[in-house]
Amino acid sequence: MLTPEEWTAVRLSLTVAFWATAWSLPVAVLAAFVLARTEFPGKRLLDGLVYLPLVLPKVVVGYLLLLTLGARGLFGQYLDQWFGIRLVFSTSGAAVAAAVVGFPLMVNAIRLALEAVDRGLELAARTLGAGRLDVFLTITLPLMLPGIAAGILLSIASALGEFGATITFVANVEGQTRTIPLAIYSATHTPDGDAVAGRLVLVSVALALGALLLAGLADRRIRLLIGRT
C-alpha cells in the first residue's frame, strides 16, 4: 500500500484541511454577514479584498503571505517576538495558506445562503420576543446550514488541492508542509517517482469522492432537519 512518507503526506493534507477550515469558518460567517447585511463606506473595498485570493495567482498569494506573515514579515516578526509563533516551514503556515486561498469560496457559499434566508422569518422571531443575536442563533444560522456545509466542503476541497501558495509561503518540507499535491510534485521530480505519484493520485481521487459523498449525505440530512425539501 502506502509508504510511511506517503502516509505522512496524507495525514498532513487532512490536518491542514481541517485546521484551515476550522479557523476560517467563524471568520467567513462574520464576513458573509457583514457583506450581505450591512452597508458602510468602503464596503466594496472589503468585498474586493475578500475575493482577491480567488483571482490572484496562488504564487502571488503565497508571496504576499511571506511578506506579511513570514519570519521578517510585516506582522510575522511580531508573531515570533511576542507569541513565539513561526509560520514559515510549519504545518500551521500550510494551514494559513490553505485557509486564505479557500476563504473566498467559503464566504461566497455562506453569503449566498444568508441572502436566501427569509428576512420575514427573522422579523417574525423578533415580534415573538427574540433579540437580534437570539434571532441569528435560532433562526438565521440554522437556515443557513446548507450553505455553511457547502462552504466547508469547498474549503476542504480547496485545502486538499492547494499547491502554489503553500509551496511559496512555507516551502516543501517533508513531515511539515509536504501535503499530497506537494508530495506528488516532488515525486514527479524524482527518478522512479511515478509509482509514488500514481498512488497519491489515487488517494486524492478517493478523498475527493469521499468528501463529495459525505457532503451529499450531510446536505440531505440538513435539508430534512430544516424542512426544506
Binding site: G120, R126, A130, G131, G227
Partner: protein, 372 residues
C-alpha cells in the same frame, strides 16, 4: 386603550397620516383597498416600520413617541403579529414554533396557556408536525397560536385569510370568532374583505390613500355613503344590527328584528335570539311614495327622506330615515327628479327578501355582538 397617531412619507409620493384610538378589547378592523396604508400602520405598531413622527401607546406603554425620543425595540413590544403568510419557522416542529414566543415572553402574568391555545385552535393533532406538511389553513392557525402565546398586549393580524381559498377561510373564521369571544384581547385586523369585517369586527377604521376616511362602530361606518371610494358602488350599503326573531322553515325564511321593524330574509343559519348583521346594498333598495300592495317585494319599510345627494354619473344617494336607522338607496337622478324626492318627504323602502341572501356579502350570518 390603543392610541395611534402616526405620519410617514415614502419615496414615490405615498404619504400616510393616521390618528385613531381602538378599544381595549374586541376586534378593530383596518379596512381599505391595497395600498391604502393598512399594513404599514400595524407594522408601525409592531416596530417593523418607524414612523417619521407620531405616537403609539398601548395600555399605558409608550411604543413610540417621536417628540420624547422613545422607540421600544420590536422584541420588547410584546405584540402578537400574525402575518398574511404565517411565517412559521421551517426548521422547527409546530410545538417548538408555538413555544418560541412563549419561552421569550417577558409578560408578568401569563393568562394564555399552551394547552388552552391548543384547544382553542384545534392544534393537538398538529403538534409534532413540520410546517411544510401543513395546509394553508393549518399554518395560519399555528401562526395565530404562536402569536397568542407571547401573552401579547394586543394582537395584530395582517389579512390572515387573504392567502387562503374560500373553504380554508370558512375553516378559520370560527376560530377567529372564538378567539374574539373568549380572550379579552384588543385586535387590530387588517382586511379588504367586507365580509370578514362584518363578521368579526366591532370597530373599524376605513383608510384610503394613506388617510382615514371614517372610523367608529362597524355598522355605523359601513353604512356611510362616503365609503364609496373604498367599497365601490357595487358594495355600498347599510348595515342593520339584527336579532333572529324566528325561523319559518316551511317557507325557508327567517325574520330578523331590528330597531325599526323586521326583515324577512332567506333562512339564516343562526339560533333565534342570536345577533346577526344584515347588509343591504344600496343598489338593492327601491323607493315608493306610497305603500305598494300589489307587489312581490316582501320588505316594505316606511320612513322620511333625510337627504338626497347627487353623485357622479347618473346616480343619486337617497338616505331614508326609518326612525333609528338611515337606510341608503342608490337611485338614478332621473327617478329622483320624476318623483321629486327631497328631504322631509315620506317614502317606503322596498327590499326584496332574496336581495339579502346568503352569507356573503349580503348577510353575515355570524353571532356577531349586536352593536358596541
Amino acid at each position: 386603550m390603543i392610541e395611534i397617531d402616526v405620519a410617514l412619507g415614502r419615496p414615490g409620493g405615498f404619504r400616510l397620516a393616521a390618528g385613531f384610538t381602538a378599544p381595549p378589547a374586541g376586534i378593530t378592523a383596518l379596512f381599505g383597498r391595497s395600498g391604502a396604508g393598512k399594513t404599514t400602520i400595524i407594522q408601525m405598531v409592531a416596530g417593523v416600520v418607524r414612523p417619521e413622527r407620531g405616537r403609539i401607546v398601548v395600555d399605558d406603554t409608550v411604543f413610540f413617541d417621536s417628540r420624547a425620543g422613545i422607540e421600544l425595540p420590536i422584541e420588547a413590544r410584546r405584540v402578537g403579529y400574525v402575518f398574511q403568510d404565517a411565517r412559521l419557522f421551517p426548521h422547527m416542529s409546530v410545538e417548538r414554533n408555538l413555544r418560541y414566543g412563549e419561552r421569550r415572553s417577558r409578560a408578568a402574568a401569563r393568562p394564555i396557556a399552551l394547552g388552552a391555545v391548543v384547544d382553542l385552535l384545534g392544534l393537538k393533532p398538529l403538534l409534532a408536525r413540520r410546517p411544510h406538511t401543513l395546509s394553508g389553513g393549518e399554518r395560519q392557525r399555528v401562526a395565530i397560536g404562536r402569536a397568542l402565546l407571547v401573552q401579547p398586549r394586543l394582537l395584530l393580524m395582517d389579512e390572515p385569510l387573504a392567502s387562503l381559498d374560500e373553504a380554508r377561510k370558512q375553516e378559520i373564521l370560527p376560530y377567529l370568532e372564538r378567539l374574539r369571544d373568549e380572550l379579552h384581547l384588543p385586535v387590530l385586523y387588517v382586511s379588504h374583505a367586507v365580509e370578514e369585517v362584518l363578521r368579526l369586527a366591532d370597530h373599524m377604521v376605513a383608510l384610503a390613500e394613506g388617510g382615514i376616511i371614517a372610523a367608529g362602530p362597524v355598522s355605523e361606518v359601513m353604512s356611510r355613503p362616503d365609503l364609496l371610494p373604498v367599497l365601490g358602488r357595487f358594495d355600498l350599503g347599510t348595515i342593520l344590527e339584527c336579532t333572529v326573531a324566528r325561523h319559518d322553515t316551511a317557507l325557508g325564511l327567517s325574520s330578523l328584528a331590528f330597531a325599526d321593524g323586521e326583515l324577512r330574509v332567506p333562512l339564516v343559519d343562526v339560533a333565534p335570539g342570536a345577533g346577526v348583521r344584515a347588509r343591504i346594498r344600496s343598489r338593492d333598495v327601491a323607493l315608493a311614495l306610497s305603500e305598494p300592495v300589489d307587489i312581490s317585494v316582501t320588505n316594505r319599510l316606511p320612513g322620511l327622506i333625510a337627504a338626497v345627494e347627487r353623485q357622479q354619473g347618473p346616480y343619486a344617494d337617497v338616505a331614508l330615515d326609518l326612525g333609528h336607522t338611515l337606510l341608503h338607496a342608490t337611485l338614478t337622478t332621473e327617478s329622483v327628479e320624476r318623483l321629486a324626492l327631497r328631504p322631509g318627504l315620506p317614502a317606503w323602502a322596498l327590499i326584496k327578501a332574496v336581495a339579502v341572501e346568503g352569507r356573503s356579502p349580503g348577510l353575515s350570518a355570524a353571532a356577531a355582538p349586536a352593536g358596541p
